[in-house]
Amino acid sequence: MLEIRDLVKVYPGPVTALSGVSLTIPRGLYGLLGPNGSGKTTLMRILAGLLAPTSGSVSKDGVDVTHQPDLVQPRLGFLPQDFGFYPELTGQAMLRHLLVLKGVDAPGGLNALCEALLDRVNLTREKDRKVGTYSGGMRQRLGIAQAIAGDPDLVVVDEPTVGLDPEERIRFFRLLSELGRDRTVLLSTHLVEDVAMLCPRFAVIRKGRVLAETTPARARASIAGRVFEGFVEPADLTSPSLAARLTQARLEEGRNVVRLHVPDGPPPDGFVPVPPTLEDAYMVLAGGAAPGLAAAWPETSA
């Protein structure tokens, strides 16, 4: 279990990236959902030991590791949001290099392990190509391979599905869900769909604060019966009254279909009630469409 208490991070400027984040992250998959600039990456880097917090603490299984990343790193799998590789090395050589530095081994030897890991991320055919020639997706998959290597009991992945095609994304989710069976896997993303697909629990973070922590089902339940769907004219999309309540918008046969959260009162004409999705719930919360809603969410810790 990972305990985060009152974590604050202030960058020179000063810019406050985290304003007293507290979370309790149990074993299993855990999602960290938030818009760009919400402080997710700062939190991930603090957990990985790459960034020192201004104040607060992080403890793992009861041990304070805030200023002792050495205690976490031997069993840490980390996939940063923005990373690179030595372009002159082949995929296999790069992975091997990282595995040696992580102290990872397997009964069949390191080379066999590298091949197996590359196979898991579908890079077997590209293993002898220089990383400098890899596409963005390939690089992401190589990053995933190193993150899942070893026997990490804490896996931290920051926006891991960027650049992955749907098939690879599914493959990665399967790996993560396997890892999440008996260890802590923290998934940071701005894609609600990823959380919905993977995480039994998640937190929403915005402007350095945790707005809510719950499960997808409870999040959806919190707005059940108050989400409506209907068609609107393009000109109406920009109307303030509509924008304030908007949770989703899409085109369907050339027409604008929108979903609105209407906390009280009747829906607009032509709108019908629909079952809420997690995205509806997230947008309601993160978009600030309904001040005070967080308090209505069950298990909200903010």
Partner: protein, 1220 residues
């Protein structure tokens, strides 16, 4: 091209560069150079320190030299890094695609970048010039012997534009192009390394081989800062302070063409960069390789669970992880073409050094493995130092640049592993380069077959000695990087450290404690490897390795895998936190401080330490007023027993001086100067123990009874000595020593035996140095004391006991030798009286021939035959020319190259390995012959005849020895050998003389300055040769013989004037002789000839040649002028006698009176040459010739016209006459 878009790029670049610490570091470096360089050191300054004309700190020549050298040393690195970073920065920020998605064209981008860089460099130049103006006008002359001249802005602006700006533009353009082409920081950094090293190499004088000519051309072409041009054109031959102070900078066509070339190259490079970028953007060849298109992978990957891989993880160890990091870094470094270029440069340097290393008199030196390793030590240290700086900084920064850091730094690798791995990789690369250099060196040594092919010296010098320097420097760079957290700040700091080290070396303040890279501290000897300073070397390396450990600890503690919080960073800077850090680092610091302390103590207690200097100063202070110039008893006989222990540097001496009172008064005290190394000195007088007063090294013995004039006294003495004591101050050598390789001791100073009386010169340094007294013109007509040695000659008996492995040579004849219990006892008796003694011992082989013997290191046999035959022939020749040699044998013994010199003591010449034994032979390399002949001549000029103390007396020793060498070369090796040596003396004289400081031969002070020395040796020999030409060889030699006979056993010791008087009767024309003497002995003149308008026309069966000859130098001389054709003279149709008679005319030339000379020769000449046989000392001999062209229509064609020409320029009495 859109100027506005390019301008926008340029403005952005300028802003970025003005914010770069590197730019301000460059300004700081420039300011440092300006503020610390003494303008006096920039130009030849004659005797300004002694009241002569003072150089101006703000003269254009001084400013030009300061700018030029500052440019050469500081600008290339920083300007290149600044310019290269402009491209690399955009790459790292990955803004290229965005920029080029706009309307910005590659040409505009590159032009804008270049423009911005030039503006930034312009800012630096303006600031640099402003600092120079401020300092030179306000303070440069304070504390210096320089003066301030009138302010002229042009004195600053012109040098800045002519010397600094083109070089800076070159570096900027080249670095921009290299960065654009390679996108590799390492390549950008290597380019300035090449530029600086080639610039420095270009300043070294070169030989005359084809390779030297090619290199000379390349160095001239790439003379970015005009340093070579200034050196060769303006400063190599001194023009006098008045010229440098007053004349404006005069640029010749060569310089202007060079400036054009230096400006054209970067412009072309920038143009090509724009093309390359355009091609790269289009994906054409020549650009950076575009990534291969990704092929969609089939969905073959398994979905098997990770668990079945049964992965385990454990914290990796320090060694394993460091090795892994080093392996990856090394693989990266091996792919760097720039490093290959650097390695090629190092290999080229090895090959060049091995093939054309120069020794004294520009001789080609055979480089043994150890000699080669030592000769290249500084170059490789400099190259390696720069390489370590670049490699460590880039390696530590690479993970950040490539965004791999987040992946690496979450691994559980110990922080030290990152640093250790990086440094291992850097050191491994250097190790590979050094191995390659060693292999090339060994190969060349084997190919030349000039000495044993030994690998261990390379291993010792480049491995065990140089290796720790790189280890420590790598740790220092890592520490700087970890503390400063900026690659550019680290570069600035690293270059400052390297520059500061070089400045310290140049200042002469460096010691073994501060000389961490061992610059100039190593002297190799095949006879005794680092035996003089082995202990210092060991302690220095221990200190450097200790420093490496300390710096390593600093870098480990400062290394941050995680980004610290600013608040925590502030806390770490608190005094208590710093104190905690200091406590933690203290044990590591001790590792460096302990050996440094011991080393410092050893230096201090050594023979060059401060107490020794203080003791010498005390000796001078306490005794100069009382004892200087006081006449005392002189030696009549010396009888000493010496026990030598070379392995322990120890000797025990017991002996007796028999002294006689040669003064007119009774002596109540006797004084002896003893060596600083003497321990337990005891004295006896006539067998009775004597008390003495130790006046800081002058032992004064009161006599129980006054010693009457002519009375004799026996003074006994005994002492032990370890010599030399301790270690040197910063390497270097000594010409007297007792060391395992051998022994060299002599009585010119008090290190071997006590010297009667006060010894002038001990304890005299810059602070208390005074000029010798100006003596009246007739000073020489009284009785003069000898310039060296005892007042009168004495006899000697020296008994030496030494380990049997050593052969011990002394002065005179060996009268007995016996071996007992592994020790040899040998007795040397002088026989013929002498004035100085020496003792030379070594583990030698020996060869003998005709009364000469050479004792040599068995591995140095190469030149022994030459030296031996020269010694034997010189002994015979000089006996014939001067006086019979009074001893049976003349010996020469080789000693380790702790000093590269030879000294001709009576019968026994110590001769270092570096001055002849390791010289390559051949017609152009006669160093062993020259040095041997010179030292052999000292048996006569210096021993059989000892000149009197007074101005010009050294000419009778050194000038005469060189003159004898000229005679010897001509007699033994032909005229070509004499001419070659005479030319080399002439060139040395022209280069080393300082116009404002040079005194006439008869007034030379013997002050040890380069001007005095070259006048004594080189000009002295030349003047004596020209004197011989005037009076005739046989008459000259007869005069010398009578001169020697007169003064050989005289109490009076001759001056140069005595020699002139001795030769005077031999002169055919007393007036011409006096004119010669006045001009060459009592005045300073140097003719310089120019030939103009040389034309030829057919005349009957021959050809008439006309040319205008002018002496643009000083002095009136009679000189030959020759018409020549082909290599050696006229064509084959002309007989030798006829050719000589008709090809040469003799004329007399006075300064400022050009003469038109016309004469007829029997062949068509292609050139006119002044002084073809090299008989007249002159300046710029190469200019004293001209090619002959066809006669123009305006010139007269008849002989009468030729006569008219001549009469128009010359006087009737000087009419040219054919020389038979």
């Amino acid at each position: 091209m859109s100027p506005s878009r390019a301008g926008a790029v340029g403005r952005q670049e300028l802003r970025a560069l003005l914010a770069s610490p590197l730019l301000w570091a460059l300004v700081l470096f420039a300011a440092f150079a300006t503020l610390t360089v003494d303008p006096v050191s920039m130009i030849p300054t004659g005797d300004s320190a002694m009241g002569g004309l003072r150089p101006f700190s703000n003269s254009p020549h001084a400013i030009a030299r300061i700018f030029s050298l500052t440019g050469l040393l500081f600008y290339p690195f920083l300007v290149s890094i600044l310019a290269g970073s402009s491209i690399l920065r955009d790459d790292e920020a990955r803004v290229g695609d965005l920029l080029h998605s706009t309307r910005l064209t590659p040409g505009e981008y590159v032009a804008g970048k270049f423009g911005g860089i030039l503006l930034a460099v312009g800012v630096v130049l303006v600031l640099h010039t402003a600092i120079a103006v401020g300092w030179s006008e306000a303070g440069a002359y304070l504390g210096s012997t320089a003066a301030r001249g009138p302010f002229r802005l042009a004195s600053y602006v012109v040098p800045a534009l002519a010397f600094l700006a083109p070089g800076a533009i070159f570096c900027a353009g080249l670095a921009l192009a290299v960065a654009e082409r390679t996108r590799a920081a390492m390549a950008v950094y290597v380019a300035p390394v090449l530029l600086v090293l080639s610039g420095l190499a270009g300043l070294a004088p070169r030989g005359s081989s084809r390779l030297d000519a090619v290199l000379g051309f390349l160095f001239s072409a790439f003379d970015l800062w005009g340093t070579r041009w200034l050196d060769e054109t303006i400063f190599r031959t001194d023009r006098g302070v008045a010229f440098y102070n007053g004349a404006p900078l005069a640029f010749d066509a060569v310089f202007l063409w060079n400036r054009l070339f230096v400006l054209a190259v970067p412009l072309a490079a920038v143009f090509l960069s724009a093309r390359h970028r355009r091609a790269a953007l289009r994906g054409e060849s020549g650009g950076r390789k575009a990534p291969r298109p990704s092929v969609p992978a089939p969905a073959t990957a398994s979905f098997r669970p990770l668990g079945e891989l049964r992965m385990t993880s454990r914290r990796p160890g320090l060694a394993a992880s460091a090795w892994e990091i080093a392996r990856a870094e090394l693989a990266h470094l091996h792919r760097q073409p720039a490093l290959a270029l650097l390695a090629a440069l190092a290999l080229l340097a090895v090959a060049e050094a091995a093939s054309s290393s120069r020794g004294v008199f520009d001789s080609e030196v055979i480089l043994t493995s150890g000699g080669l390793a030592t000769a290249l030590f500084e170059l490789l240290a400099a190259l390696g130092g720069l390489l370590v700086l670049f490699v460590v900084v880039e390696s530590l920064d690479r993970a950040r640049r490539l965004r791999v850091a987040d992946l690496l730094h979450v691994t559980p690798v110990p922080p030290a592993a990152y640093l250790l791995g990086t440094q291992l990789a850097a050191c491994a690369v250097i190790g590979e380069i050094l191995l390659g250099c060693a292999a090339v060196g060994l190969g060349l040594v084997a190919f030349r077959n000039e000495g044993p092919v030994e690998a261990w010296p390379f291993l010792l010098v480049w491995g065990l000695i140089l290796g720790p320097t790189f280890v420590a420097w790598a740790n220092a760079v890592a520490a700087l990087q970890c503390l400063l957290r900026s690659r550019y700040l680290t570069y600035a700091a690293g270059l400052a450290v390297l520059g500061g080290t070089v400045a310290l070396r140049l200042s002469g303040a460096m010691t073994w404690v501060t000389n961490w890279p061992l610059l100039g501290a190593l002297r190799w000897s095949d006879l005794g490897t680092f035996e003089l300073d082995g202990e210092a070397l060991l302690l220095n390396r221990a200190m450097v390795l200790g420093a490496a450990a300390f710096l390593g600890a600093v870098s480990v503690r400062a290394f941050r895998r995680s980004e610290p919080d600013p608040a925590a960073t502030r806390a770490r800077r608190s005094p208590s936190a710093i104190a905690r850090e200091a406590r933690a680092l203290a044990p590591f610091l001790l590792l460096a401080v302990l050996p440094a302390t011991v080393l410092s103590a050893r230096i201090r207690s050594g023979f060059q330490g401060a107490p020794e200097a203080a003791r010498a100063r005390d000796y001078w202070r306490r005794n100069v007023a009382t004892w200087s110039g006081v006449e005392t008893a002189t030696l009549r006989h010396v009888d000493v027993k010496v026990a030598l222990e070379p392995a322990e540097r120890r000797m025990r001496v017991d002996g007796v001086f028999v002294l006689v009172n040669g003064t007119p008064a009774a002596l109540r005290r006797l004084a002896f100067t003893v060596g600083p190394a003497f321990e337990g000195v005891a004295w006896t007088v006539d067998g009775a123990e004597a008390a003495f007063e130790d006046r800081s090294g002058l032992h004064v013995l009161p006599l129980r009874e006054a010693l009457p004039p002519g009375g004799e006294v026996r003074v006994g003495f005994g002492y032990a000595a370890v010599f030399p004591r301790g270690v040197t101050r910063n390497g270097g050598g000594t010409s007297e020593f007792i060391l395992p390789s051998g022994v060299v001791l002599h009585t010119l100073g008090p290190n071997f035996l006590p010297v009667p009386g006060f010894v002038e010169g001990i304890g005299v340094d810059r602070e208390n140095r005074s000029e010798p007294p100006e003596l009246p013109d007739d000073f020489w007509q009284g009785e003069l004391e000898p310039v060296t040695g005892n007042v009168s000659a004495f006899t000697s008996r020296v008994e030496v006991v030494a380990p049997s492995a050593y052969t011990v040579n002394g002065v005179g004849e060996k009268t007995s030798e016996r071996r007992e219990s592994g020790r040899t006892t040998v007795v040397w008796e002088s026989g013929h009286p002498v004035r100085v003694l020496d003792l030379v011992a070594g583990r030698w082989a020996v060869k003998r021939q005709d009364g000469a013997a050479v004792f040599y290191h068995p591995a140095h046999e190469r030149n022994v035959e030459v030296i031996l035959s020269t010694l034997a022939a010189a002994r015979l020749r000089y006996s014939e020319w001067f006086l019979p040699y009074p001893w049976a044998e003349l010996k020469l013994g080789e000693y380790a190259d702790h000093a590269t010199r030879a000294q001709g003591f009576p019968t026994n010449i110590p001769f270092s390995e570096g001055i002849g034994f390791l010289t390559r032979g051949g017609p152009g390399n006669r160093l062993p012959i020259i040095v041997t002949a010179h030292e052999a001549a000292h048996q006569w000029w210096g021993h059989l005849l000892v000149p009197g103390r007074g101005p010009g007396s050294d000419v009778l020793i050194e000038g005469m020895a060189h003159y004898a060498t000229l005679l010897f070369l001509q007699a033994e090796h032909g005229e070509e050998a004499r001419v070659s040596f005479a030319r080399s003396l002439e060139e040395r004289y022209a280069e080393r003389r300082r116009v404002d400081a040079e005194r006439p031969l008869a007034r030379l002070r013997g002050d040890g300055s380069a001007t005095d020395e070259t006048a004594t040796y080189d000009k002295g020999a030349w003047v004596l040769w020209m004197l011989q030409r005037q009076v005739g060889r046989e008459r000259m030699l007869a005069s010398l013989q009578s001169f020697l006979r007169r003064f050989q056993a005289s109490r009076d010791h001759p001056a140069l004037q005595d020699l002139i008087d001795a030769i005077r009767p031999a002169a055919e024309s007393p007036a011409e002789f006096q004119a010669f003497v006045d001009q060459w002995f009592f005045d300073v003149v140097l003719p310089e000839f120019q030939v103009r308008d040389a034309v030829v026309r057919p005349a009957g069966t021959g050809w008439t040649v006309s040319a205008t000859i002018e002496n643009v130098g000083t002095g009136s001389v009679t000189v030959e002028v020759a018409a020549q054709r082909g290599e050696g003279g006229p064509g084959p149709a002309v007989g030798e006698g006829e050719r000589a008679a008709s090809a040469i005319v003799t004329i007399r030339l006075a300064p400022g009176s050009p003469r038109r000379v016309t004469w007829t020769v029997p062949f068509r000449p292609d050139r006119v040459v002044v002084d073809p046989a090299v008989h007249v000392l002159q300046h710029h001999r190469a200019e004293a010739r001209a090619r002959v062209g066809p006669r123009s229509a305006t010139e007269g064609a008849s002989p009468s016209a030729a006569a008219a020409d001549d009469s128009a320029f010359g006087s009737a009495e000087d009419a040219p006459k054919p020389t038979p």
